[in-house]
Point group: C2
Chain length 154, copies 2
């Protein structure tokens, strides 16, 4: 007799490979602690994400407890990925707003994703530069270690 509704407008669906341990759609009502187990986020963080508008409105049980759906988990997966890129939470909130505003924001969302993609490519490049520096330093230290070893063995 409780929660059976789905949110309706599927306006940001392109899920990718299905996640492990999920219940089938229509039977997908997870408590906050289940979502904690899935995502590795804390319950505090999940509630905070909702407060700042980073999550859509989450279904509630008849007593007001949160019941997350598979769609919510998909969204959290995306948020997790974007977080890894260093995207500020405020930007993710902006993206969430665009999704809520409906289909006429497709263009803006598209731009935002493309910009983010460029940022990610740039970060990968930076990291490669850093890797080169580390490798130079590491081989320097390896050589120095060799020198000390042969020093010691003399």
């Amino acid at each position: 007799m409780t929660v059976m509704e789905t949110t309706g407008t599927r306006t940001d669906t392109c899920a990718g490979p299905p996640q492990q341990n999920r219940r089938p759609d229509g039977d997908d009502h997870y408590t906050i602690s289940e979502v904690v187990a899935f995502t590795g986020l804390t319950a505090h963080t999940l509630r905070w994400y909702e407060r700042i508008g980073l999550m859509p409105h989450i279904d509630r049980s008849h007593t007001g407890q949160r019941r997350y759906t598979n769609r919510d988990l998909d969204w959290l997966d995306l948020v997790g990925k974007l977080r890894l890129t260093g995207m500020p939470v405020a930007d993710m909130v902006r993206y969430a707003e665009l999704v809520r505003e409906g289909d006429h924001t497709y263009g803006e969302r598209f731009q935002l994703l493309k910009t983010t993609r460029e940022d990610v490519l740039a970060r990968i490049d930076e990291l490669r530069g850093t890797l080169a520096v580390l490798d130079r330093k590491i081989s320097f230290y390896a050589d120095a270690g060799q020198a000390l070893a042969s020093e010691r063995s003399r």
Copy 2:
């Protein structure tokens, strides 16, 4: 009549390509604002780095103003790279301490560098995963854009 000393023990040198706009060694005494121009850091940040032990002791002019050397700039370059990896400042301070402690810390520095290298590889991998997600979403939005466009042209 002022600052002409060099720090002595070259215990972490493996400079890589020489930087632009630098003065030759022995004539390398940069004011803090010159270093700001080189590094893009603020003077506040440079002084803060020194306070927390992330920098070696910086030479001073006869009136107590900081005079950075080429070696200091090299160190700041490394710090900048490490910062890009997301390494916490505290860990960089630890590395700086090891450098100050002398040659018997070679081994520990070597380990720290190798661990960092692994972290960087892992981060690059994460970013590649995110890139894949973004690309999927982007092509989804591109298709949706196409659909909307043909909708409009009908």
